[in-house]
């Protein structure tokens, strides 16, 4: 952008607060017995809804089902006002308090923070502007960029996300917190044709705790590189304890094929690019698998090779 502009009255975007938004906000608030929380939830819901209706008018889709602001247990335990834009990330839509104070959560991953001034008497809200990131818990309203620039911000992020996908670092610790990088979908969805068997056997009665197991799958986009061969890379992650994470990696054929291509190799490399584990498919293998264990923060990569073509996925535990 070659010009900058503060959130003056001229730059604010006034957006309607619809009956549907009010109804949802009231319904959410009724679910909370404590008046302070009910009011917080009501205002956060309105702020999120107003931004959602703005984005949807522009044709930008949002996903409430995975937004914590729509989750009653998250509303109860935290001051949440997030809105997920699929393929881009999580926005924060904060209602501005009467004194012009806008408080934002720190230490959470957000792709932008939008300040929303609710004027409920007039039945409308002002989208005052946004900032891509914050350093302080108080959002300086004079630092806001105008909403005119907001679509460009989202498009740049989406471009970035697409460009990074090949070399993206996948953070498994984030998986254990319930966040997944784009491209990693539920293993059951991608591999609907397989009956799923867990990679880790529950150790019968001696299991000290029920570990949280996460499994996600990624279609390795080998179309261009390996002809018609498409494979699914499936990772199953289990937190054994504070310092150890169990990882199961499998490769499956996709597109209704029964067998992996012969000679498909998968290698696990550590942070120094030393090969730690390797497996190779024979003529009629349904899948390949490797198991290993690592510490939180430890990097590794998985290299999938067929002939002279190879794809690397980078991870950090």
């Amino acid at each position: 952008m070659t010009y900058s502009q503060s959130a003056t009255d001229a730059a604010r975007l006034i957006w309607p607060i619809t009956q549907q938004g009010k109804r949802i906000a009231q319904q959410f608030a009724r679910d909370h017995g404590l008046p302070d929380i009910a009011e917080r939830v009501r205002r956060n819901t309105l702020a999120v809804w107003v931004l959602l209706e703005f984005l949807e008018a522009l044709g930008i889709l949002t996903d409430l089902a995975t937004s914590d602001s729509w989750n009653p247990a998250m509303q109860l335990t935290e001051d949440v006002a997030d809105l997920v834009v699929p393929g881009v990330g999580r926005l924060e839509c904060r209602p501005v308090e009467e004194a012009g104070v806008c408080t934002v959560p720190l230490g959470v991953e957000r792709i932008g923070y939008v300040a929303v001034a609710l004027d409920e008497a007039a039945g409308e809200a002002s989208l005052l502007g946004f900032v891509p990131e914050v350093a302080l818990a108080q959002l300086g309203l004079d630092r806001l960029q105008p909403m005119d620039d907001f679509p460009t911000h989202l498009h740049q992020l989406r471009q970035g996300a697409l460009g990074q996908e090949a070399s993206q670092l996948t953070r498994l610790s984030r998986w254990l917190e319930g966040y997944f990088e784009s491209g990693w979908q539920s293993a059951e969805d991608l591999l609907a044709q397989y009956l799923w068997t867990p990679a880790f056997r529950q150790g019968g009665q001696s299991a000290p705790q029920t570990p949280l197991q996460i499994k996600r799958a990624k279609q390795l986009d080998l179309g261009l590189k390996l002809g018609a061969e498409q494979v699914a890379l499936v990772l199953e992650v289990e937190q054994e304890n504070e310092s150890a994470v169990n990882i199961g990696l499998r490769l499956y054929p996709l597109e209704g094929r029964l067998y992996l291509p012969e000679g498909l190799t998968v290698k696990i490399l550590d942070g120094e690019n030393t090969v730690c584990l390797t497996a190779q498919s024979r003529s009629a293998d349904n899948y390949l698998q490797l198991y290993f264990r690592g510490h939180p923060g430890e990097p590794f990569s998985a290299q999938v090779t067929l002939g002279d073509v190879s794809i690397v996925e980078n991870f950090i535990i």
């Binding site: 952008m1 070659t2 010009y3 502009q5 001229a10 604010r12 975007l13 006034i14 957006w15 309607p16 607060i17 619809t18 009956q19 319904q27 959410f28 009724r30 679910d31 909370h32 017995g33 404590l34 929380i37 209706e53 949807e56 008018a57 522009l58 044709g59 930008i60 089902a65 914590d68 989750n71 009653p72 247990a73 998250m74 509303q75 109860l76 335990t77 039945g123 409308e124 105008p146 909403m147 005119d148 620039d149 907001f150 679509p151 460009t152 989202l154 498009h155 740049q156 610790s173 254990l176 917190e177 319930g178 000290p208 705790q209 029920t210 949280l212 937190q239 304890n241 504070e242 310092s243």
Partner: protein, 224 residues
Amino acid sequence: MRIILKRSNPGLLMNNSPDELRRLACEACRYCLGSAERQRYLTQLIRLVKSRLWRDNSPHYQDALQQTWIYLCQNLCEGKTAKPYDPDVASVATWLNAYLKFRLLDFEQAAQADRARHVSAYGEDGATTDVVETLAAKPEIPPILERVQDWLEQNAAEFRKIHVVHHPKINCYELILRRLPPEASWQALEDEFGVSYKTLESFYRRQCKPRLREFGRAEGHISS
């Protein structure tokens, strides 16, 4: 769409004259549907045209306006749900005002039909009583806090087994319970358990919050 008069830095132009609005409309349509540029001009257009739109005190005004903005975005260039905007026929504000007034009329007629139904179903005092409101006033389902507490108790045995290494007392059950409102601060929990709040917070983030989130997702809100 036809070619435009002259280009200038769109951010600097803040007037909302009919000519300027028409220029923004044409500019928006030079870019393809769904592009950042198109969305930028649409945002600007919405922001500037608003003060030229019809305004009244109808309870449905904001809903009609929301529909008007959707109509603008969908039909300015391509005409996805109606005939596309023609700058030779009307100014942007005139075009939108016509649509806005029709929507207000629709809402008013729907409300009248609704009132007629309510009165016939609920007798003479039905004029101001909202049936939906009356039904919603007696929710049998306890608030979410109680539902979370019940869920926590039901899973207590399992959640107690999930704990900070060497600290069986600092477990999933205990931390979720303490962080329910009115929640204990991390500092208070650090003092009580003798474990740094960073460890507690990180354990909560990894082991407690995802379970709580999963429960909340499955549970949803009571619908009225």
